[in-house]
């Protein structure tokens, strides 16, 4: 029993590390893309149809790639960035790249929901484009953005299990190696349970933050 628990500790930390790291990097990659996708769409702040449709297509292609293939294709990139293409740190690279287009679409959707009349009002007051994006559109979309980011984190937790296949470590890896290959059902169940708890906790926190914002706004 103690033995089992001890075996679970390190993979849990690895999963958390992978998830947090990948979330941060996928946001860094995906957030600007999402903003760009939204503001360059027809009738929006800076309509640029060529850029918009090109970017949209690129993101769709990236999203269509099966994760496992993307991961292998990205090996050289991981090596370039982290210095190795195996291990937890290396897994963050394909995870971030896989989640970034998803993040971009989520951000795009959330920003498009902002009432265009508010943007008109901000324009009429002489706001610059940057002010409209950062002081109006993004704050107005906070609750939807938080929900979208929560969803992203939960997706990354799921994908991170697959990253175990390239020696990424983590709970998914543990479950496969011990539960599936060595018939240690207790370890497999433990790993699955912890993943479920992490997912539930993420969802709970996400809901709480977004509800708090709504409450502050009296909605």
């Amino acid at each position: 029993m103690i033995d089992t628990l001890q075996m679970l500790i390190e993979p849990t930390l690895s999963t958390i590390y992978m998830t947090v790291g990948s979330t941060i990097f996928s946001l860094i990659l995906g957030f600007p893309l999402g903003v760009l996708l939204c503001v360059t769409s027809p009738g929006n702040l800076i309509p640029m149809s060529m850029l918009n449709s090109g970017l949209g297509r690129f993101i769709n292609i990236l999203r269509a790639f099966p994760f496992i293939i993307l991961m292998i294709l990205i090996f050289p990139l991981s090596h370039l960035i982290v210095g190795t293409s195996i291990g937890t740190a290396a897994a963050i690279v394909p995870l971030s790249v896989a989640a970034a287009p998803f993040v971009a679409r989520i951000i795009e959707g959330a920003l498009k929901e902002v009432n265009p009349e508010l943007i008109l009002a901000a324009k009429a007051m002489g706001s610059s484009r940057r002010q409209i994006i950062f002081k109006v559109m993004i704050p107005e979309a906070y609750p939807t953005l938080i929900n979208g980011i929560t969803l992203t984190i939960i997706n990354i937790i799921g994908y991170s299990a697959m990253a175990g296949a390239i020696g990424g470590g983590g709970l998914g890896d543990l479950a496969i190696r011990y539960g599936y290959q060595r018939f240690r059902t207790d370890i497999m169940l433990g790993a699955v349970l912890i993943i479920v708890v992490i997912v539930e906790l993420t969802q709970f926190l996400g809901n709480k933050i977004s509800n708090n914002i709504m409450q502050q706004r009296g909605l």
Binding site: E117, L118, A121, A124, M125, G126, S128, V136
Partner: protein
């Protein structure tokens, strides 16, 4: 002063604003009234530089503003404030934050912002609500916040697009009075878009009637309400009293039904009793009203005259000669 020179706008080949020229003087409250789809919103968006022009020119105080590049355009827009039918307040900010927004974007420091916002909230009588979320305010209060926000950077012009259309009559009046009192106190040129004659009558100095993107009638409110030339103008004016419309519908027969418009001078004279004593005419009063427009009384009477044709014509001629406009409705 705002000058529009022959401005036009087409949407998909449809001419929505058609060669509009207009001059709006300093500290004037100018009404633009028209039916739904007449092009009012498009016109005010063009005036407030939110919409490009297909043809024409716009000047603010003799300075051309319709051809500015983006940077200058943003700066130019800071001379204007705008309020909307649905208030368009930011839900991500509370009352204070909304009024502070235009000050933040011009880079005012925290202290200055705080001072100016409390000044503005006092002006719109919402000092006690500074930390309220927007959703907890009534419609009238929301529009007051919007007015405070619009005036934060001391604009020269205030544009109002159907700003009272979502409010009940009582609140409409109080918001209009607030706008007027601000104009009187700090000086402001106000352009009001509306489809309600009540609004025009309540606060405007001048009014233009817009139909199909064209200005069809123009003048002081007194002139337009007192002496309308077009059918559409009369339609708008007739919405002022439902009483009078009802009265008109009950006419069954008679020699001549006329609508008489008295100006502020003739309204105070005993014109009608003179008419009856000197002409062979009987008079039936169908409806009547005296309206106060900008503190000056304007009279309107709908009468049925009974008598011979010659007496009728002489009577009407007499009325015209003493400054009453007579509109013959049927005979």
């Amino acid at each position: 002063m705002i000058t529009l020179g022959n401005i036009s706008k087409n949407y998909n080949g449809l001419r929505v604003v058609d060669n509009v020229s207009l001059e709006i003087g300093e500290n004037v409250i100018y009404g633009l009234i028209g039916k739904s789809g007449a092009g009012k919103s498009t016109l005010i968006r063009m005036m407030s530089l939110l919409e490009s022009l297909d043809t024409g020119e716009i000047y603010y105080d003799n300075c051309r503003v319709d051809n500015l590049e983006r940077e200058k355009l943003s700066r130019c827009r800071r001379q204007l404030g705008m309020i909307f039918q649905h208030f368009n307040l930011f839900s991500s900010r509370n009352v204070f934050g909304n009024v502070a927004y235009p000050l933040e974007i011009v880079g005012k420091d925290k202290e200055t912002i705080k001072k100016r916002v409390s000044e503005l909230l006092k002006m719109v009588e919402l000092s006690d609500k500074f930390d309220y979320p927007i959703s907890k305010l009534s419609g009238g209060q929301k529009q007051r916040v919007a007015i405070a926000r619009a005036l934060a950077n001391h604009p020269k012009f205030l544009f109002c697009d159907e700003a009272t259309s979502a409010l009940d009559p009582q609140t409409t009046k109080s918001v209009l009075r607030l706008i007027k009192s601000i104009r009187d106190k700090i000086g402001l040129t106000v352009v009001i878009i509306t489809h309600q004659m009540e609004v025009v009558k309540e606060i405007c100095d001048y009014v233009s009637i817009i139909d199909n993107g064209k200005i069809v009638e123009n003048g002081t409110v007194k002139e337009v309400v007192g002496f309308p030339h077009t059918k559409i103008a009369r339609e708008f004016i007739s919405t002022l009293d439902t009483l009078e419309k009802n009265a008109l519908q009950t006419i069954t027969s008679g020699s001549a039904t006329c609508r008489l418009h008295f100006d502020s001078e003739s309204v105070t004279k005993p014109i009608l009793s003179y008419l009856i004593r000197n002409y062979q005419l009987d008079v039936n009063i169908l409806s009547g009203a005296i309206r106060t427009v900008n503190k000056e009384p304007l009279g309107e009477l709908v009468l049925k005259f009974i008598g011979s044709a010659t007496e009728l014509n002489r009577g009407i001629a007499h009325l015209e000669s003493v400054g009453v406009t007579v509109e013959v409705l049927d005979d």
